[in-house]
Amino acid sequence: MEEVRIGVYVCWCGNNIAKMVDVQDVAMEVETLPNVVIARDYKYMCSDPGQDLIISDIKKHRLNRVVVSACSPRIHELTFRKALEHAGLNPYMFEMANIREHVSWVHNDREEATRKAKSLVAAAINRVCWHESLEKRSVEINPATLIIGGGISGITAALEIADAGKQVYLVEKSAQLGGFASKMCLTSPFMYSTTQMIRAKINKVMNNPNIQVLLNTQIEELSGYLGNFTTTVSEDGRDLELKFGNIIVTIGLKAFDPSVIENYKYGILPDVVTSLEFEGMLKAGKIETRDGRIPRHVAVIHCVGSRNATYHDYCSRLCCKNALKYANMVRAAIPGANIFEMYADMRAMGNGCEELYSVTSKKNVMFLMFDQHNGLPEIRKAGPKDNCDMIIELDEKLSGERIEVPADLVILMVAIEAHEEAKRLAQVTGVSMCGNQFFIERHPKLDPVATTTDGVYVAGSCQAPKDIPDSVAQARAAAARVLCTISKGNVEVEVTTAEVNEDRCCGCQTCISVCPYTAITFDEEKSVSVVNEVLCKGCGTCGSTCPTGAIRAQHFTDLQILSQIDGLLEKSMELKEV
């Protein structure tokens, strides 16, 4: 074996790491370890000068292994692997020790944190000694794209990709395209007509030869990987096999069902309606009570199911500005009506929203504030002497008084929830979900449309409550990412697959039974198992099952991980004894 020459780089991450970990001490300590040629600390390793430092050291000190001790490998492993490549080193001769997310940000004893950092770096040094050069494999990208969900996000992404001349399969669960945008009348804050906007877009989709729309269709199962996915859908009772290289998931949102909130008597009092139902009234052109009268008092209640520990902690983001939209539309339709906005905090943000708020407040709209922690407003049926259908009682926060407000129509600004299909689709596509069942992007700041599954992107309100402009922007971003991979034509994939050592394999075929991708077959002639490296996804399960140790899970070999454990514990023990 060639002489192992390791360079170790301990990052300060500004103050993020340096505040809690004595980075200089870590660098000094690990420099004494076997095979370490040089160890340095530096302010920002991921910056260009930081990477240049590694590149020049590789050349100057003939390094053949690199360890960076910094943030999570999930953030910058690829950055540093690229730096190694620039310096002519195989990118897999690299290992990261996570001393930010797993050390400096989670501990508050500097001495212990420093000790822990040392043992993690020692483990990485031990591991990297056994790293091997791996050759990247390149796969061709099928230029077709599958889009799941035909709301404004799915439609936008489909048009973007189809206009670039590429095939799109647009799969929609319901009988029509458009999603929620086609259920509303005008959009806040600029009051565009959604009907016109969405209808024009749907027409474009329907007439685009590059888009195949599949209505009343669902994706039950998916096979393959980035560049080459396959699924089977049924069209008019016939099975249809679709092949595509990328997927964009745009399954959108669901509106909160307010009947669980007793105070609001939704489903009991006929003129308590949801924002979605009110959009229906606006679309039909008449604002009236269930029995056809013009309401004299209209109340709009904010945060229904949002920002409330019992329902959803998060803010749904759209409802405040929509509530303002409703106040304006009621004012225009019924000039003499009393309009009440009952809000917890006014959070109409974004372009044009503050302006909409000031315009609304000049239109004789009464703004009443309540505090969710002190109880929600309560709606009850009015008595025979009251000059209205319902009474809303609330503790008005600004005046500090308990007041009663008349109402003939109450609009509940219901929360935006993740779609009920989200969990199932997360499993089918391998995308992660947050606790609220919205899909999680690969990185909240740096990679907002990709997911942890290569080749699968998310856009629109299935990722977080979003308005139309934000959904459209994200859909276009996802489409651009997909078009990028298509125009490259092929993509380099992880080569950390499994490998069978024929001499060691006893032919027991245990590995075949555990592989989730049927990537292993049995060579009857040689009486050994063989891994198909195109099908193997590198989970490593076979490696830990094989009784004879014949399987090597590349880049996660027994030797690499055992050395890592050694480094970890030896350093921990040594430091403990000191």
Partner: protein, 141 residues
């Protein structure tokens, strides 16, 4: 001086490691005793990794994978679960308290749960006291 256990943890890349990262991003604080090793899937956690860790001085081992049904490779976590039960029996025969090995499911969004789990597990190992297996191995060899 109070006994400070050494804990080795194996986290799968897709859910649990990301969950641990989230604990960091959210600046949640937890016991410093844990040392994390990343594997692609909990199914990759070879029994020898566990045994070797005990042999080299770990007082407790925490394995985390994706929740049932959420494994990035469909069912690696089920393989891990099966192996876990066997391993617990096995280490008991070797004289290691089975409670020193623990498996739990942590999703990418469960940073808080991860931090609480680490504190809970560290506490339980602190109560158990140091593992004696390292001394035993040392005397044998």
């Amino acid at each position: 001086m109070e006994f400070e256990p050494t804990i080795v943890s194996f986290l799968c890349n897709w859910c649990s490691y990301t969950g641990a990262d989230l604990a960091g991003t959210s600046r949640l604080k937890y016991a410093h005793n844990i040392r994390i090793i990343r594997t692609m899937c909990s199914g990759r956690v070879d029994p020898t990794f566990v045994l070797e860790s005990f042999k080299k001085g770990a007082d407790g081992i925490l394995i985390c994978g994706c929740h049932p049904g959420d494994c990035h490779y469909h069912e690696g976590n089920y393989k891990c679960l099966r192996r876990y039960h066997l391993l617990k029996k096995y280490i008991k025969q070797m004289g290691i308290e089975p409670e020193r090995l623990h498996l739990e499911w942590i999703s990418a969004s469960e940073g808080k749960q991860f931090a609480e789990l680490v504190d809970r597990f560290t506490g339980s190992i602190r109560e158990l006291g140091p593992s004696r297996i390292k001394e035993v191995v040392n005397t044998l060899s």
